[in-house]
Amino acid sequence: MRKSWSRSLPPISPDYSGACSCLYELNPLIVIHDAAGCTGNYTGYDEPRWYHRPAPVFCSNLRELDAVLGRDDRLIGGIEDCLDTIRPEVILICGSPVPAVIGTDFEGIAAEVESKTGIPTIGLPTNGTHLYNWGYARCLEALVRRALRPDFPNSAETRHEEANGQTVSLFGLSAIDGMDRDYTDWIKRGLAEAGTTDICSVTMDCAMSELHQIARSDYIWVFSEAGEGAAALVKRRQPNLKIFHGLPLTDKQRGEMIRALISGGESAPKPDAVPAKKKKALIVAETYLAGSIAALLRDRGGWDTETVVLQEDLGFSSSGRVPHIDSEDALRERISQSDAALIVADPLLKAFAPAHARFFDWPQFSLSSHLYGADQRSVRIIARQFLDMMERID
């Protein structure tokens, strides 16, 4: 959805929304360097937690003269003024299209803010052309780099505890992708039942003071493609680290994935092929989510699946990524020409579906925001509704 004319679909959530979403629960101060609309995009349409659990996300009120004259000092001064009332543990400053045009140096601004305030500060050159998964990935990588630094708070404690038990860090838990605190609790409960209680959920229901645990992780469990880059960073430092990939949607999938994780596997075991008459399903979803929906169908037997991904290709291969579709015309053609008997996709894509296909509404916040209730239901709840529907039609 990133190129040329789009007639009916909104663009996918942009990069700055992914970056903001990544740090949202870490007691942050987040500044989007824009005039108003980009912040309104994020708070109005890209942050499901905004209404009931607002975090300090502010607009820098960028004006034309600021851009022409390069008045970065106004942005820095605004952040300093804020600290009279906000006590953040981390600061994020991210960009929008205008700063991209004038070449704003976000890393430099972040360094200056950090030196003035003493608060860890991340500057990201988001520009509104990338997608949310890119922004989330870059922000998580910046956060993890910082957590791995020897001067990160509590890192001495980390070294002291290094020999104790097993630690699992959860990467890529993303509110925009339908993972919420209930979902995170459910994952933690599953791990606890399997004997692992030392869990760092990093971007969801977590505190900055817990992030030192990343450095002593034995396992990293990655829940979306946007978490893969950060996991690779940790692996580079700790070659013995085991990285597991998968987004469980049901108790059964969770159990299988936890068993596979503890046994050192990299993803959930695939079920044995069921020789049967195969029907085809087309799934339009984030690559991990699509994989898990496909697994649900394979479990039921008799289904072949194809995947369409709208999220930006981040260059990782572990999830068996298919190339993403980035124009509305191409997406319309791909769906309308499909011979699939079942299409699982956001309700906004129903208009493209051929008449012969059954369509299951799987609202995705990154596309339709709150229009179809994706802000009210986690992926687990939608998966339950999906399985109920499959019970009725199979």
Binding site: W5, P10, P14, A100
Partner: protein
């Protein structure tokens, strides 16, 4: 008239936007023009709230977007992209428009785009269509022509001077300018003008572009919001239509002065206010009784005149608790001083200040006028007003009193109401 736009601004650094922030977007205002189609042009990110809000409003068939990318910006090839994409798109639109409006976003201000060339190239291919350029550029919010003012100039700039137009004063038509929703026809001002033979015209009421051109034939433009002053000035120069600034108001002296200005301009007698004044006095007493124990909070998205509105309610015996405003017209200063002199406990709070992030309250029994005041006080009783556009003059006083009484009988789900309102940042 520029002093009418003067504002007092609260000290600000970074801006907090509550989940209830919003109003009529540039998009929604632009769509008031009948038989027009809008192409938004810029980075894809800028288009997300536009398209999603158009889906919420059910107007998605009247607009779409052309996403630019780093490559065609870096090479300057985006002007060709815009022409090619629009030329390809026009034959595929469901309903053929009369006017194609191109909206460029903030970064266009820094690019030096040759808009005239884009219009010429498109006009060569589609000579039957009118092509125009507008901007959705909040980066110019502090300029003399910020987007809400520019959009009105662009809209009314499409009126053509009729070749056979008689003297402006001979036309028995009056335009209302700058409001997004027409003043209710049952309001005194419309009945009074109709009684004197004047047809009242508002852009939202025309179904075709040709019908919209009737606004070029008018004896007077009544400007009801300060945002419309520039457009009205341009119409006066270009079309010869005089204007009077007669803003929405809640102050008796100003309401009657507004009617007097219109009466003088049209050389008619002002209306008799006796009956409506008596009804307001009676309903004010009834409302004060019903709202005993229900303090009122007001925000500046609901009204450009928060202090005048509050002063009217206070003088009607209704308790005012807080006014939420980041800025206000300096013409409101007198009402503000009178309000605070009568009750120094009333607080004026900046809803955009970063401190508001942790400042959401749960005030018992509070009645909010405006969504943002409702969010920040936890109000369940809410008047979902936006920019005063519910009634005019004494009818606004009357409607406000009635709506307050109704509101305390009907608590709302604020989150749902905000999301369904279609108001955006």
């Amino acid at each position: 008239m520029s002093h009418e736009l003067d504002v007092t601004v609260m000290p600000a650094c970074l801006t907090y936007m509550t989940p209830a922030r919003g109003g009529w977007s540039v998009v929604r205002r632009a769509l008031l023009l009948p038989e027009s189609y809008l192409f938004f042009i810029g980075m894809p990110a800028c288009m997300r709230h536009i398209i999603l809000s158009s889906l919420e409003l059910g107007v998605q068939d009247r607009l779409s977007f052309i996403a630019l990318n780093d490559a065609n910006l870096a090479t300057g090839g985006y002007e060709d992209t815009v022409v090619e994409e629009i030329a390809n798109a026009i034959p595929r639109l469901g309903t053929k428009p009369r006017v194609v409006r191109m909206f460029f976003t903030c970064m266009d201000d820094l690019l030096g785009t040759d808009h005239a060339s884009i219009i010429d190239r498109l006009h060569e291919q589609f000579p039957e269509l009118i092509f125009t350029v507008s901007h959705m550029n909040p980066i110019r919010a502090d300029s003399p022509v910020p987007p809400p003012i520019a959009i009105l100039c662009d809209l009314f700039g499409l009126l053509e001077k009729p070749a056979d137009m008689a003297e402006p004063g001979s036309e028995k038509r009056v335009n209302f300018i700058a409001n997004n929703i027409a003043v209710p026809r049952e309001d005194l001002i419309c009945r009074w003008l109709a009684d004197h033979g004047y047809a009242v015209q508002h852009i939202a009421e025309f179904k075709t572009f040709d019908e919209f051109q009737r606004m070029a034939r008018a004896s007077l433009n009544i400007v009801v919001q300060p945002l419309g002053l520039r457009a009205a000035g341009e119409m006066e120069k270009r079309l010869g239509i005089p204007f009077r600034y007669c803003p929405y108001s809640y102050a008796e002296t100003e309401i009657e002065a507004n009617f007097k200005k219109i009466a003088e301009a049209l050389a008619i007698d002002p209306p008799d206010f006796g009956e409506i004044r008596a009804r307001i006095a009676s309903e004010a007493k009834e409302t004060a009784v019903k709202l005993a124990g229900f303090p009122v909070v007001i925000d500046y998205a609901a009204t450009y005149r928060p202090f005048s509105m509050a002063l009217f309610l206070q003088r009607s015996g209704i308790a005012i608790r807080e006014i939420y405003a980041s800025e206000w017209l300096t013409s409101e200063d007198t009402a503000r001083e009178a309000l605070l002199a009568a009750d120094p406990t009333i607080k004026i709070i900046d809803p955009s200040a970063p401190a508001r992030i942790g400042d959401r309250k749960a005030v018992p029994n509070v009645v909010a006028i405006g969504f943002e005041a409702a969010y920040l006080t936890g109000a369940r009783f809410v008047l979902p007003y936006c920019a005063d556009e519910f009634a005019y003059g004494y009818d606004a006083q009357l409607r406000l009193l009635r709506d307050l009484r109704d509101a305390v009988d009907a608590p709302i789900d604020l989150e749902r109401a905000v999301k369904e309102s279609g108001y955006t940042v």
